[in-house]
Amino acid sequence: MKIIRHEGKYPSGLLESLWPMHKALQAIDAAIVRGEKRAFFGRGEEWKRIRNFLQTDLLSPAAANGYLPGVIRAAELASKGAPACSANLNDYLHRCAFDMFTAVMFGELLEVADPNTPTDPVNLQFVTHATNFVATDAKSLFSPSDAIWNLVFQRQTEKITSMVESANVTFAITRTKIQAFQAAMEAGTLTELQQQSYLAGAMKRFQEQVEASTSSKEDKPIDEELLVNICWAMLTASVDTTSGVMAWALVHAALNPDMQDKLRQELQANMTEGGSLSPDIFTKRANVPYLNAFLRESHRVTPSVTMSMTKEVNQDIEIHGVTIPANNKFGFDQYSLQMEPALLEGDPHAFNPERWFPGAVETRKGTPSEIIDHPFFKDPFSQGARKCPGSRVAMNEVFCFLSQLILDYDIRCPSYASYTEIPYTMEGVLTPVLPPLEFTPRK
């Protein structure tokens, strides 16, 4: 908290540290990194202008919840493909995340996840390249040799070249999709879901900004190229990150059939008359307390990142009696304390959603253990003004998708007994190498 308060006018965030991404985007002269102070990858006025535009109609609870009908419908369709994909679930989950976010972004139900339905190969190409772009960025970040070659000697490594290729492909697809959307908007042929989409709102705001702008630098509107860049960034980021969180949740569900039953009972008590999930149950987490506790526990034992925040202070700061000079960078280890034996009841590695029931939280109050209930530990999306702008939409996607799978199937993991045995690696985020799971239809 103290560090966040010392960030100054332009807070720092994770994006600034993603040098491989910056390098690749710089190589294709992307508008999102062009100009003063590295634009969206920096923290000047340009960052603020882009961030403000991007997070409008996305970050607030009301905005994120407004997309729930589309996300639920996309999850229903995606869930149908699970049994056919049981041998390659990681790729399937990437496609599920893409389906749900394109429902938000474009108001379209693309059904890329379900292999039983026809799919435009362009969408599959987008998923493949978006995944490669984000995963290669993460791998480069953890590679000292890549840092040295690219940053010290200014020699582009194979990883960055691969990212450049993926950026070119995904940018071209995004541009084409936006042009098609714009044409439909001008022709008045958008569906109801498309009219409620993020892009429809963004295009209206874009038009309003253009009409209201003067020639002054302060109110410079977002231009069309930047709008394409913003949509590209959101689409690309939405695939590999959300799917990592979903993958861990799926692992824990498959390994704990008794918990599946509890989740199912909770969800079935909140269905619509038509037998679908109701958006209303996800607008308040208290409506689905067991699901909420289940996902909170999944984040505790298998977080998608261990270091959820990186912050830089713009003035000297004293932490625990140590003076840290300005311009130093801080990381926030979100994982270790949540696995601290002295702070938890029982085995810290045991998966136990009941740790997050209101009674358990109340018991921790006033003890050192209450630290794990601090909001900074509850999700992997950072905090403050640089919190992930898509965080609420992403969590809604995870809630909806897991719920739909549990309503549709009995899920089992025949090859492992514990999540600790399941190998994982760093893709865009820490992701399990999913073993084949059994999906037995319930309907």
Binding site: L141, P144, E312, V322, I324, P325
Partner: protein
């Protein structure tokens, strides 16, 4: 921006040679890898002027008593020692050389386990050099309940 090719190598080499203290070395290594940020004096720039991080006592990781037990433990056992530990770091390579820094070898399939090991060995509050990621000087990990 960083200069390319030979001038960049020369600049990096010069910074390495001028890094006379451990604090300077870490600072130089991180700065040698970062984009276009000017090197502040306190971070160990070529002009001398080093203002090292001030620390209180207790930097000996061997004195730590982190528990790896999985049995029930009382929250009164929680280690509330927040002494600052500087993990050894080298120019350019940061803390990525395990035999030098004492951190586990970099392994993307063991990040969770390694995070626990680092906390167990160095405590709640430490700094380490991470090439490309650290800014200013150290990549400092602060995990303080109060701050």
């Amino acid at each position: 921006m960083m200069k390319s090719g030979l001038p960049a190598l020369q600049t990096a080499a010069r910074r390495m040679l001028l890094a006379t203290t451990r604090t300077n070395a870490v600072a130089a290594s991180i700065h040698g890898l970062f984009w276009d940020r000017p090197l502040p004096l306190h971070a160990g720039g070529t002009g001398g002027g080093c203002r090292p991080l001030s620390t209180n006592s207790g930097n000996d990781p061997s004195k730590r008593s982190a528990s790896t037990s999985t049995s029930m433990a009382s929250s009164s056992d929680f280690d509330t020692n927040f002494d600052f530990v500087k993990i050894p770091s080298l120019p350019l390579l940061g803390s990525m050389i395990p035999w030098h820094s004492g951190i586990p070898p970099q392994d993307l399939t063991k990040l969770r386990e390694n995070t626990l090991k680092i906390k167990q060995k160095f405590g709640h509050f430490y700094s380490m050099g991470v090439p490309g990621l650290g800014a200013g000087s150290h990549g400092t990990n602060n995990n303080s309940p109060k701050n």
